[in-house]
């Protein structure tokens, strides 16, 4: 359960988010809005990469700013640019990196790594430099590296913005089928329409929270 109460975020005295309140328990949540409307800041509140200036955020009762360890074990985060989140040289090592320091044996780590790479079609590339993957494969690798840690919530900030049409479709389908609760920031309104609920941001305010079709309609009518 994601619980956000009267959250405002200011940076350099400038309001970035204002008075945002939302309780999110649906499985698939879309976040839409124009560039600069505060979507990324909202997403980053959920795992403590951003902190509220006023108000509270809790994830299953934990505060992301004060209980970062507990929250990051529950919340996986996928960024827009996979090159910036793949930190290890090869595919298998990057996935295994997520399991460091969790008290698993080497064979447990290897088993979980190959399991997740298999599931998303990257098993053949386990020893390949991550650099040799295509854009779509890199984003899948980033997703594998997050999912291998078994989070209960996945936050994705424009995960398909840098991908071509085919890979956008591939990644979108995978995200929609995940058993995890999903919070996805996106400009892909078709993807937003497939979610259970949508949040529409404008100028740092949460303008609308509810049925995706209605939120998309308002976005296209008033804000585009």
């Amino acid at each position: 359960m994601i619980d956000i109460r009267s959250v405002s975020v200011e940076r350099d005295g400038k309001p970035i988010l204002a008075e945002v309140t939302a309780q999110l328990d649906q499985r698939r949540i879309a976040v839409i809005g124009a560039n600069g409307s505060g979507k990324s800041t909202f997403a980053r509140l959920l795992n403590g990469l951003a902190s509220p200036t006023v108000g509270t955020v809790t994830i299953d009762g934990f505060d992301p700013s004060r209980q970062a360890r507990e929250v990051r074990a529950r919340v996986g985060f996928v960024f827009t640019n996979p090159d910036a989140q793949i930190v290890m040289p090869t595919v298998g090592e990057d996935v295994a990196f997520s399991l460091r320091g969790k008290g698993l044996t080497r064979s447990e780590i290897n088993a979980r790594t190959s399991e997740v790479l298999h599931e998303y079609g990257l098993a053949d590339f386990v020893d390949l430099p991550a650099h040799d993957l295509s854009g779509g494969q890199k984003q899948l690798l980033a997703l594998c590296s997050v999912l291998v840690a078994r989070p209960s919530i996945l936050v994705a900030d424009e995960p398909t913005t840098l991908l071509d049409a085919r890979n956008t479709r591939l990644v979108a389908d995978i995200l929609m089928d995940l058993p995890q609760q999903l919070v996805v920031v996106t400009h892909d309104l078709a993807l937003a329409a497939r979610c259970d609920v949508a949040l529409l941001f404008d100028g740092g305010r949460l303008l609308q929270h509810g049925d995706p079709a209605a939120a998309i309609d308002r976005y296209e009518r008033e804000l585009v």
Binding site: R72, D83, T90, G121
Partner: protein, 208 residues
Amino acid sequence: MKAGRGGRLSRLTGLYVPGRSILHRAPASVKVVGLLCVTLAASVPPPNWWLLCSLGGLVLGMFLVTRLAGRLVIQLWAMRWMLVVVLIPQLVFLAWPVAVATTGRIVIAITAASLVTLTTRTSELLSVFERALMPLRWMGVNPVRVSLVLAMTIRTVPVIADRAEQVREAQQARGRYSLRAFVVPLLVGSIRHADELADALAARGVED
């Protein structure tokens, strides 16, 4: 699915190539110690043809046994200008056998090192470094962090090289060339990349 394109540079970096040769199966620590011995034997004693030829033969033999001879050719070709730069001044100032022997030492050291990186997963190599650095803990060295930085550097080199290529192409498209117009966007891009990487590490639960 097929693997996508890879930068020219990543092909030359000598990252792990999967295989089943004895060198692939040998423990990483043994390979590192072996590399250390070969490098010392090549560089410490005064140049000695017999010694250098046997070391060179050993390295060449290993490339053949591990079926990585193709990689050796690629690597020597990539090193050609560096070797010329090293060799020419020596030929001017020293007798040619000494110049050739010195250059030979460098070739042996570099190719032996890449033999190790080609047959060892980066993660295994890093855990050897981690263990080797353990005695330095009392000096405040954190071995895990050092090896993490090494791994991230290996990963980041081709990313930055790609970016440099993009900046160069953008300049080409506009038909303008200047060093500043090349360095500034590259630097800005690299700093942004470092910021993003820091966020990614935090999101993945690496506490510092």
